[in-house]
């Protein structure tokens, strides 16, 4: 049977199969989770650095981390929020660690943790928006993307970034105002 047979299941149902399903069901369920969130994890990494090699490594390490949560090596995973709330901090931390490691080994500053894809390579339709986003600090850009692109709620953002909800609220409030100013939106 195709390993796409579980694609219609929810994340929670796939996680349950990985926790306690039979061997082949667990393999197929994990594959569905991987294909469902692969692009997201890659994008998270590319938000923080423009290095595709690092993003590919982060993608692999993030899902190996997730895999180890499941028996027999792990105790099993209990989803208390969206799976992306768990994947985000893992991908974020792995990316920042990889960027620092590369900077140390190469003694170069050509990869900045805050760097977005070069606006000059972006479709002109999005050029103003890309420039406006680049003008925000990484912290403000991050909460903006988590809230409006990833559709996370404030408590989920707070959990993903391991910061108080009040901090998320204030960063979000400032980021929205700053972006509107840069785009000249009332």
């Amino acid at each position: 049977m195709s390993n796409r047979r579980f694609d219609k299941l929810s994340d929670a149902e796939l996680v349950a199969l990985c926790n306690s399903g039979r061997r082949q069901d667990a393999v197929d369920a994990f594959d569905s989770l991987y294909r469902r969130h692969r692009d997201y994890v890659t994008r998270v990494s590319l938000r923080l650095c423009s290095d595709r090699e690092i993003a590919a490594d982060v993608l692999q390490e993030t899902f190996i981390y997730l895999l180890r949560k499941f028996p027999p090596s792990g105790d099993g995973l209990v989803l208390t929020a969206k799976l992306r709330s768990l994947l985000y901090p893992v991908a974020r931390n792995l990316t920042l660690t990889a960027v620092k490691k590369r900077q140390r080994s190469e003694h170069t500053a050509d990869v900045e943790p805050d760097q977005l894809p070069d606006p000059r390579t972006i479709d002109p339709e999005y050029e103003n928006l890309a420039k406006a986003m680049t003008g925000l600090s990484s912290r403000h850009r991050e909460v903006l993307l988590l809230r409006f692109v990833d559709d996370m709620r404030v408590n989920e953002i707070a959990e993903a970034l391991d910061i108080p909800t009040g901090t998320v609220k204030s960063r979000l409030h400032f980021a929205v105002g700053a972006l509107k100013d840069k785009l000249k939106i009332a």
Partner: protein
């Protein structure tokens, strides 16, 4: 005091452009795909082929799955029971499998559905020729 964050909004068109901008960088990762799949196969290969369910809910799902498979087998050897086979194929896939058990588990979340599940279990057990 900051306003409620869920009420902090951006214009819809800006959000849509942000989404497209964020997704505009496509990365193909066939080598990573292969390594992750190999890691998953190796990880779960160490697991017993059958694992004891960890909660009553999953015990119910497991029992249902096994019963549905047994019922499907019985239906195949008894051509006159076609209607019963279709009734147990909850998701309409044409195959009675673990996905049907998940579909029943979802029914479990609806109020009053437990009685229907109990009736289904009774019917399946009766098909197996034993008392519920």
């Amino acid at each position: 005091m900051n306003p409620e964050p869920e009420s902090i909004e951006l214009p819809r068109d800006v959000v849509e452009r942000l989404e497209r901008l964020d997704k505009s960088v496509a990365v193909l990762t066939p080598a990573v795909d292969r390594r992750v799949r190999e890691a998953a196969a190796a990880h779960f290969a160490r697991r017993p082929d059958r694992v004891r369910p960890t909660s009553r809910r999953w015990a119910v799902v497991g029992t249902l799955a096994a019963s549905l498979v047994a019922a499907a087998f019985l239906v195949r050897i008894q051509p006159g029971m076609e209607a019963t086979r279709l009734a147990n194929d909850i998701d309409g896939s044409g195959v009675v499998d673990i996905l049907d058990a998940f579909a029943v588990a979802r029914m479990d979340e609806a109020p009053g559905a437990q009685a229907e599940i109990d009736a289904l279990i009774g019917e399946i057990v009766a098909l197996n020729g034993t008392s519920p």
